[in-house]
Amino acid sequence: MARIGSTLAGTIRPERPIASGTNGERRPAALAFLVVLWLSLLVAFGVLVTLIITIIIDGQGQFTWRLFTEFPSSDPDRAGARPAILGSAWVIATTAVMTIPLGIAAAVHLEEFADKKNWFNKLIELNVQNLAAVPSIVYGLLALAFLTMLNVRDKNIVIAGALALSLLILPVIIIATREALRAVPTEIRQGSLALGATQWQTTWRQTLPSAVPGIATGSILALSRALGEAAPLLVLGALVFVSFDPNGILSGYTTLPIQIFNWTGRPQEGFHQLAAATSVLLLGVLVLMNGLAIYIRNRFQKRW
């Protein structure tokens, strides 16, 4: 364009080429903007790296098999996190069983069946949005009051912790599932309905299978949030000295985050190292769970 312009007449001289090929991407403002964007990512990742290095350096001395096999002790060099590991496993497994089916069912109702103009469904929509932002510790208070109402004396039991965590992550699972369902194109549903399938058959055989990767990713991320959560369990009295293996849903327990909190609060340096080592362990588990979620998303998610 510029060449044609210059051959046509010398009088028409644009100050800069009409089409530069970069479309203004290299203007100073645009470049500065890009640098700022890069910096914000760099700062975030810088903190992440610093955090990981800190806990690895602090915890390396205590990251031994003893952490997996021993019970807590008043001597940091003999203490381990075995009951906390088992306790976390029990609590998370119970939470998953309680909350995932419920969350998916609620999301399917809202996304596929609910009449959006019905007051009840509007209320539920608003309510889920609100619940997602309720502080986690409030769910602890809810479970505490519920158990008090049932006259449960010993509130430090797996099922109680799982109840609090289930209600905590229920809105997370509902929102993730709704998003996954929403990403399935309407044409899929219309095609199925046009072939004579009922609405539930359409949901069960077309919409839900297409949304499974999104739902699985959301559920795993929600569970990993529950695994790292300590506040509601703290309110339920999970900060106790557990010298046995938790072995059922009515068993007493402590969890990894609670154990870390406990050891961080002790004055002795040895316990801080134990807290760091346990943090490394917890982070390792979470990275595996996140990795799985990401793998599922990247491997199975359809792009319509």
Binding site: L41, H109, N130, L131, A133, R182, A276, L282
Partner: protein, 325 residues
């Protein structure tokens, strides 16, 4: 997404379905046979959705009943505007303002960190990163979201407070500070803000970007003038969710902000937040029905009302600015 009128549910007078063999040969009246299973499934799904409402009602009841017991002994006015918080002292005082100042400080500091960094990351991921780069960066950012708050708490106390603030910067601060807790909390919230804003920007139709580019805008202009406004509802929702996470965050402040309820005027001070109080008070063995036990719920109620109010603001805002494609 319900685009076709409801077909399920039993229809009382529905005749048998016409023979499926030769479509077109028999006139169909388009009424299916009654499907009771389908109807039952709908009821089950509706109940599942209803449980969320029951949860909210449960929270309200659980918080209100002990709070009523509390406010029978402590006047609401003294609770809301009192400036001394000493529930376990002999001359007990229940003024919640010190807890509120600590919460306000940690939230404020967290937002100063999280809003610019979170939005910057979101814009980069949504508008600039190539699909390959995005596939690497997004999971990394989500790892930041997946770090347990108790680990952030350890980091805030052992590294940010004792190493950075005290050893490197030589600031006059004690073992705990609102500053360390707030800064680390901000990092914790970055992925919350980034992820939701990014989703909302990625949801803006490609045609709008192409239209903008066709008019000669570069990517910065397209981002700031087309994509950002179009995604504003999601971005506001992200920031507000960040605020309520900061207000409700417990473990970081319980570990790093300290346990004395001070009127916080300076971020280098230690202070106990509302959540920090609940976490610490729950550690002590408080008898059901005692004033200590009821205090937990009174503070919990205040916390709940604050986050609820923030949320309603966000929802109203989202509705007003929502653009539908």
């Amino acid at each position: 997404m319900t685009t076709v009128a409801s077909t399920g549910g039993p229809v009382a007078s529905a005749p048998g379905r016409p023979a499926p063999s030769s479509p077109g040969s028999t006139p169909s009246n388009f009424v299916g046979k009654p499907r009771y299973g389908e109807f039952a499934i709908r009821i089950i799904l509706r109940i599942a959705a209803g449980i969320t409402v029951i949860t909210t009602i449960g929270i309200l009841i659980a918080l209100l009943i002990p709070s009523l017991g509390f406010f029978a002994e402590v006047p609401v006015w003294d609770f809301l505007f009192g400036t001394r918080w000493a529930p376990r002292f002999a001359d007990a005082s229940f003024g919640v303002i010190p807890l509120v100042t600590a919460t306000a400080w940690t939230t404020f500091l967290a937002l100063i960190v999280a809003i610019p960094l979170g939005l910057g990351a979101a814009i980069f991921l949504a508008e600039y990163a190539s699909p390959r780069l995005r596939k690497v960066l997004k999971p990394l950012l989500e790892i930041l979201a997946g770090i347990p708050t108790v680990v952030y708490g350890y980091f805030a106390l052992q590294f940010v407070q004792s190493t950075v603030l005290r050893e490197w910067l030589q600031l006059e601060t004690g073992a705990f500070s609102v500053l360390a807790a707030g800064l680390v909390m901000g990092v914790m919230i970055i992925p919350t803000i980034a992820s939701i804003s990014e989703d909302s920007m990625s949801a803006v139709p490609q045609a709008m970007r192409q239209g903008s580019a066709a008019l000669g805008a570069n990517r910065m202009q397209t981002t700031l003038r087309v994509v950002f406004p179009a995604a504003l509802s999601g971005i506001v929702a992200a920031v507000v969710l960040g605020v309520s996470r900061a207000v409700g965050e417990t473990m970081i402040v319980a570990i790093a902000a300290g346990n004395q309820a001070n009127l916080v005027t300076n971020p280098l001070q230690a202070g106990q937040t509302m959540t920090g109080f609940i976490a610490n008070a729950a550690l002590g063995d408080s008898r059901v029905g005692s004033i200590e036990y009821d205090t937990l719920f009174a503070v919990g109620l205040l916390l709940f009302i604050i986050t609820l109010a923030i949320n309603f603001i966000s929802i109203r805002f989202v509705r007003r600015f929502r653009e539908i494609y």
